[in-house]
């Protein structure tokens, strides 16, 4: 009876360890894929170029983000119209 109990505990313990490891590996894989497939769209590039220019013009981060956001919005609206 004792043997059976300990084997059951061991089985559950090893199982959870193996499951936990699988999850961890999967998470890392997702991260790697993100790093590899990261690509800036045309609108992303417009956003960043505007953001950079606004910062050069001495706008604050918040203002620069809003200015770049407005440019991004125009780009996205154009994309929708073209499609």
């Amino acid at each position: 009876m004792k043997k059976l109990f300990f084997s059951a505990v061991a089985l559950v313990a090893f199982n959870s360890v193996s499951i936990a490891n699988t999850i961890q590996i999967e998470e890392e894989k997702v991260k790697d894929e993100k790093a590899i497939t990261f690509y800036l769209t045309k609108c992303d590039q417009i956003y960043l170029t505007t953001l950079l220019k606004a910062i050069e013009l001495e706008f604050s981060n918040e203002d620069a983000s809003d200015i770049a956001g407005a440019a991004y919005q125009v780009c996205k609206e154009k994309e929708v119209k073209q499609n």
Binding site: F38, Y39, L40, D44, Q45, Y47, L48, T49, L51, L52, K53, I55, L57, E58, F59, S60, N61, E62, D63, A64, S65, D66, I67, A68, G69, A70, Y72, Q73
Partner: protein, 259 residues
């Protein structure tokens, strides 16, 4: 006999008044302290801008003067400060005008700390990525200078705060607040409270916020507790923002270089 009945009547009256006072105080103190305040934004005139690009962007901000309103909801020990739909507007000069207050998303105050979400205009962070926390100011200097605002005597208090401009550059600024002890609410607009009375007027940088309406009522549904996946301090958030911007600029350069 007549004298006796008079004494009994007097005793009865005294008791009634005593119980009435006790009852009145009990009702007053057991009530929730709720208040809804409207604040109007005033913007100082812009210093003439030499750069033509910058001038083009900033030209309409002055037109927004006195056109923006914020609401402060107070419920006992919590407060919620929100713009009247200005920040979600697609109009750029509206957003830039509101940015002058250093407000970016609704601000929730509880347990001596302000909580608010990251600015959704920075598209490389998810909308719910961060819940930013900012400690309240504890070092107000209360002066004896006073003025009457809407029939209430209000006192002047000053302090300092800071914001991150860009590239991690920190800018200090002075704040002047007028609070009214007659209104026993230790709250105020944006990130400013902790004075012995409601802040009726506050000025810093080139803006002024003035309370234009007070209502001793509250629609609790209007208070929305902000959420975020990572709780960070304002300093940590700015460091993450600066790093992310640098990373994205590098990525842009890489992709442009490949072409």
């Amino acid at each position: 006999m007549n004298e006796f009945s008079q004494t009994v009547n007097l005793l009865f009256m005294k008791k009634t008044i005593k119980y009435f006072i006790i009852f009145y105080c009990a009702v007053c103190f057991s009530q929730k302290k709720t208040l809804t305040v409207d604040y109007t934004l005033y913007i100082a005139e812009n210093i003439p801008e030499k750069n033509s690009h910058k001038l083009e962007i900033l030209k309409d901000i002055d037109l927004k003067n006195e056109k923006f309103f914020f609401k402060l909801y107070i419920n006992d020990s919590i407060s919620y400060f929100i713009d009247n739909n200005g920040i979600s507007s697609s109009n750029l000069s509206t957003k830039l005008a509101i940015n002058k207050t250093k407000y970016s998303t609704p601000i929730f105050f509880v347990n001596n700390t302000f909580y608010f979400k990251n600015n959704p205009s920075f598209i490389f962070f998810d909308r719910n990525e961060f819940l930013i926390k900012k400690e309240r100011i504890n070092n107000w200097e209360i002066t004896s200078e006073s003025k009457i605002i809407d029939g209430r005597i209000c006192y002047k208090a000053t302090t300092k705060d800071y914001y991150y401009h860009n590239k991690g550059k920190k800018i200090d600024y002075e704040i002047t607040a007028w609070f009214c002890p007659e209104l026993p609410f230790r709250f105020g607009p944006v990130y400013y409270n902790n004075l012995p009375g409601l802040i009726i007027e506050i000025s810093y940088l080139d803006i002024k916020l003035v309370a234009t309406s007070l209502k001793y009522e509250l629609d609790e549904r209007k208070i929305v507790k902000p959420t975020g996946n990572n709780i960070v301090t304002i300093d940590e958030y700015n460091s993450k923002l600066t790093d992310k911007m640098a990373e994205m600029f590098e990525e842009l350069e890489k992709q442009n270089g490949k072409k």
